[in-house]
Symmetry: none
Subunit: 232 residues, 4 copies
Amino acid sequence: MPHRERNGLYKTSSGVTLSPNADPTAAPAADHRKGPRRRGAELEKAILMATLEELSETGYAELTMERVASRARTGKAALYRRWSSRAELVMDACRSTGLTAVEPPDTGALRSDVTELMRQLAAKVASPLGGILRGLLAEMTRDSDFAKLVRESVHTVGPVALRTVLERAVERGEIQPWVLDSRRATVATDLLRNQFLLFGTPVSDDVITDIVDDIYLPLILHPAPKRAGDGT
Amino acid sequence: MPHRERNGLYKTSSGVTLSPNADPTAAPAADHRKGPRRRGAELEKAILMATLEELSETGYAELTMERVASRARTGKAALYRRWSSRAELVMDACRSTGLTAVEPPDTGALRSDVTELMRQLAAKVASPLGGILRGLLAEMTRDSDFAKLVRESVHTVGPVALRTVLERAVERGEIQPWVLDSRRATVATDLLRNQFLLFGTPVSDDVITDIVDDIYLPLILHPAPKRAGDGT
Amino acid sequence: MPHRERNGLYKTSSGVTLSPNADPTAAPAADHRKGPRRRGAELEKAILMATLEELSETGYAELTMERVASRARTGKAALYRRWSSRAELVMDACRSTGLTAVEPPDTGALRSDVTELMRQLAAKVASPLGGILRGLLAEMTRDSDFAKLVRESVHTVGPVALRTVLERAVERGEIQPWVLDSRRATVATDLLRNQFLLFGTPVSDDVITDIVDDIYLPLILHPAPKRAGDGT
Amino acid sequence: MPHRERNGLYKTSSGVTLSPNADPTAAPAADHRKGPRRRGAELEKAILMATLEELSETGYAELTMERVASRARTGKAALYRRWSSRAELVMDACRSTGLTAVEPPDTGALRSDVTELMRQLAAKVASPLGGILRGLLAEMTRDSDFAKLVRESVHTVGPVALRTVLERAVERGEIQPWVLDSRRATVATDLLRNQFLLFGTPVSDDVITDIVDDIYLPLILHPAPKRAGDGT
DNA sequence: TTTTAACCGAGACGGTACGTCCCGTCTTGGC
DNA sequence: GCCAAGACGGGACGTACCGTCTCGGTTAAAA
């Protein structure tokens, strides 16, 4: 009978030929089976690695649990045991690497610090991270716990480093302390994010300069009175 | 040879009963289609309607071509003939209604105009439109033509109305003309969009007031010199 | 991180309620599946049963994988995992029952044996099996492996039983042993098959008698010299 | 809007660019539009030609009305107006050519005549005609009118020529007249057909010789008494 | 040390949707 | 009128994944 490997229950391991590399002379090199079976943290790391590889090759939209499992040489159950969805797996994978980390620049001046930081962020989102970001934002509607997670992750990509930059500026006396906790503080990264989401990558240096010099710095350096208009 | 009436008129039906629905009062019993087969614009409208219904019931993420076709009582091919993907269909459906249209308010003062506009926009994205917006943004990476389309659609939701509001403010002398074409002009809607994407709906009035009074109006009413910092 | 119980036992369910149907008396309300998920041989049997039902209701030509899967309450993938085509599925279904089996008659005389056998075969092909046979023969061109399978199946419907009949006749001395392996041995079933394929069912008793008495028996009882003509 | 050619009703011919070869300098050679539109017999001939081409390229099983129409540069309606099904179209196409015609050989001796005829037939079914035959036989169950048509077509491929051969043999005195209308007359072609359907093509010369010398000629040259056995 | 229970790898399972092809009918212009 | 073209409503195709479940194996901790 063609096509079928009928013999009871499709048993792939018939006792004898169990090991895929039964031949002891064959190179077991590329195989993960270097002795004990992977568990816990080791397995988890392998999965996250596979996830990142898939992400960089096919992007967030085409990533499937099936391929990740296969690439990590494990079963889908091992994934679902740890992450309840594609989105959470991916988010975790991003965090596990320094993918989202940005080193706050320290050039000694606010303007150059901010500009440099924005350039770094622009470079980040031009990498596969950009598509991932889009995907995660799209799935935020799912449930509020997940939304919170994404928010915190995204908020880590820029604002945290930006705060460090601002704090140094406060120490230098360039800006006043209240700026730190005002809505104005994140305007630069907010606008950058908006620019990326609407216009895609790459974000040009001109745009960055524009945002920084024409909008951000005026807002935090020479703050106009908080209530500009006083009525309707 | 069966079936053929060669050298004749090939008439398969006897002249009178040719039209399946010659008499509109006749019983449409066995067939669910009341009139003639829908085509072109009529069919298209039915499909877009079905799309909107699906969108409001299950949202963008769960919308499938299969269900839309079924709801519109047509075949999937009729959809794919017109739109090459779910995203384009949905985008078209949104445009076909006034779903994305916003009436620019005209209260006689810039601040109240802007605030009112922002409230309208916030209400928009709190509707199913919010989820759709997320979905479309996520798929912008697909190809640049599609990205452009989305961009233009999204840019219509707020900025166009905002421009009208600003133009009236210029006429009233509240702001200076150059603001219209500066990056500052869209900061309000940009920040609102960012707020919605990061924190979801509903966007509270406090946030809107904050953006308008603390960021937007200062930027366009009492503009600081364009280059705030003078060097690195 | 939601969902994960890291550094623990990953237990998603609390030991007791693990099995979704631990108690057979419990209400299987929301689920249509009564017991555990079917697998292997059990599922296969259910599919073959569904196939036979479809065959008898709609015939080979109208049988679709879709309906078979639906009737067997499984997915199409479960079919394609086992059979690469409709034809192989159907062939297997036929074999799984005694559909193609014929009991060689034993009346004590060659002529009545053969006649009876031919009647049985004629009855077989008058059942749904007839249409199936046509369908399978038509698809034999596909590939030679499949062709071989069909050939063997078809060859089992008659010739095997016929051989038994002939062997008994040899023992009784009615015919000579060499007939068994000559082309003449299968002439009866060959002509019956041809009759069925060309003229359809039912094959009348007259035709059977004609074939047996006027062609088959003369050939094997009183064999003329092998080379009748002696030249061109 | 990408993908769509929206503009009313998908009108492909916008009045101006109607003619596919508007450029009068372009070679209209390969085009069928050499003036007036084809009608009646001319069109029919073109369709049958297209059918034959499709048959020889893809075979009966893969032939579709859609492709035939496209190849004949006409619409599907033109086909359905003339033939109610694929099978009838194909059958007609076969008849329209001499595809099924066999010239009865006339070598002066029965044995060589029959052998030669069998060889010709074997060659026929080794051509695309073989697959067509299988397909048509499979569809004979559809309705009895169609079955009759197929039967007559198939019966023309061999038996008619065979009869001519037999009649000449009667004239020469090689066989007796009653053979002509006996079931024995067609045994040769019946067995050949069976051989082809079961074992496919090509049918070897050995098989043909076997059938002719060991079965057919003995039956018609030295006929044994009609009733071999005398009762059960 | 021996059990024992969780975990691993693999992949079948029931299901949904995909995007394509073709069916046979129907409509629209143009000739 | 028929012809060419192709849209229409519908059904099935074979594939890809989904998230769950089952099946032998390890493998590490409990006894």
